[in-house]
Amino acid sequence: MKTSLTPEQIIRFCERVEGAQRRAYDIPKLTNEYPEMTVEDGYAVQNALRARFIEQGEKLVGWKAGLTSKAKMVQMGVDKPSIGFLTDAMSRPENTAISTDDLVHPRVECEVAFITKAELSGPACTRADVLAATDFVMPAVEVIDSRYENFKFDLPSVIADNSSSARFVAGGRPRYVEDIEVDGIGVAMELNGEIVEMGSSAAVMGHPADAVAMLVNILHDMGEVLPAGSFVMSGGITAAVAVKPGDNVIARYQDLGSVSLRFE
């Protein structure tokens, strides 16, 4: 991937995003200042952010695909998926309270997570490759949090902000892909006891494994592979739902159990 940004610009944008993430405040989208920013530039900033988090002691545990459903693309006004990295510091156990003090305007969405047992590499990674390399799948709720004002952004800006990654909760039960219909998993998300979002995992690019293949191919463009043992969230099945302190969320999945979390 080629970037038009200078090393100084990358550092400046990276520090701006990191500050907003660490101290939980919102900032104007980066393209306001730098309208010519490309998707490649966004990944250059995200990669600098990843290097910085790892340098600070966080452990890379996997990746996420974002903006993978039609609903999400319409909701966010973009036309292509994106990817972001996940570290252990973003993980929370299920049935626990997640603090909103260190988040800007969190939203939750239901996803299917893939845990891999073999390395995957692009440029032509396919659904079949992903399914063959999958150890198991499990349900996950992603807490996304754009650091941009009013959750409004474009593709380069959101990629620089690590595709709005903030927290994630994996739970429910693990399953082998051959034991379930991975592209037909029904999902209902309850907010404070009321179902607010529903869908099927087919909403993720037709098949969630396609989103993982897409992610692997983007990694290839950055000169990277997806190592065995990675945790990959394949993208929101439902539209994202805003949450506030006191909210309880239960995501119920066909064949995968449920994931619950609350906010304080």
Partner: protein
């Protein structure tokens, strides 16, 4: 409390185990004893057992239920180390003459196929690294007078570990929902207690993730092949001569255990 006192208490526990006597709670002897010191005492107690020829074969996680955590006033589990001398095979009768004041707990044992090196371990890592799960009984025992334990007492006393028996059943946790698997425990043919995997830190995988991260901080190895007793899913069962217990974890299978002999207390 200085190093000599820590060593002495570890030695006292070892002698108490051998002679089947109990000790005045350490929290009475040393009201200021910290959790860190309690783990140092545990290490000395285990060192004595290793010096006598025992081998480390796994870990146990204790204080995993909210009820017990509330009772002991703590917000996290504790752990102890398992040695080969604590193992009974399924079908063998547990000899109460070797124990002091035993109680049984039904649990899920987890065996790893990969090392888990904390910190930074999540429940997902634990599932990935799990070889199989088996139903099991842990027979807890206390070297402290009348089980009058505070958290520091039980930690020092190797998390009150006695002996254990693991079923020969090996189940794949990607085939069974171990968090929601129901557990039934029968004593002498009658239903005694029921539970569910979620009783253990929300999920036995959460308890093992906690263990991996805690061991990582302490620099204690956590290796593939080790057996982990993930935490009780049942009420404590008092046992005496002739008792027979059976636990059944739905989707996984059962484990049976018999007791004979007379305890010291």
């Amino acid at each position: 409390m200085d190093n000599a006192q820590i060593k002495k208490l570890g030695d006292d526990l070892y002698e108490a185990m051998l002679s089947r006597n109990t000790l005045v709670p350490f929290t009475e002897q040393y009201p200021d004893i910290t959790l860190e010191q309690a783990y140092e005492i545990q290490l000395q107690y285990i060192k004595r057992r290793i010096d006598a020829g025992e081998k480390i074969v796994g870990k146990k996680i204790g204080v995993t239920s909210k009820a017990v955590q509330d009772f002991l006033g703590v917000f996290q589990p504790d752990f102890g180390q398992l040695t080969d001398k604590m193992v009974y095979q399924e079908g063998e009768t547990i000899d109460l003459n070797e124990l002091i004041q035993p109680k049984a707990e039904a649990e899920l044992a987890i065996v790893l196929k990969e090392d888990l090196i904390g910190p930074g371990i999540t429940a997902v890592d634990v599932i990935r690294a799990t070889d199989y799960v088996s139903p099991c009984f842990e027979i807890v025992d206390s070297r402290i007078n009348d089980w009058k334990i505070k958290i520091q007492d039980t930690v020092a006393d190797n998390a009150s570990c006695g002996v254990y028996v693991v079923s020969n059943i090996k189940a794949d946790p990607r085939k069974v929902d171990i968090t929601m698997a129901g557990m039934t425990l029968y004593k002498n043919g009658e239903l005694f207690s029921t539970g569910v995997g979620a009783a253990v830190q929300g999920s036995p995988f959460n308890a093992v993730a906690w263990l991996a991260n805690t061991l990582g901080e302490l620099g204690i190895p956590f290796k593939a092949g080790e057996v982990i007793l993930s935490g009780s899913q049942s009420a404590l069962v008092p046992v005496t001569d002739g008792d027979e217990l059976e636990c059944y974890i739905a989707g996984v299978g059962g484990c049976k255990v018999k007791f004979a002999g007379s305890t010291k207390v």
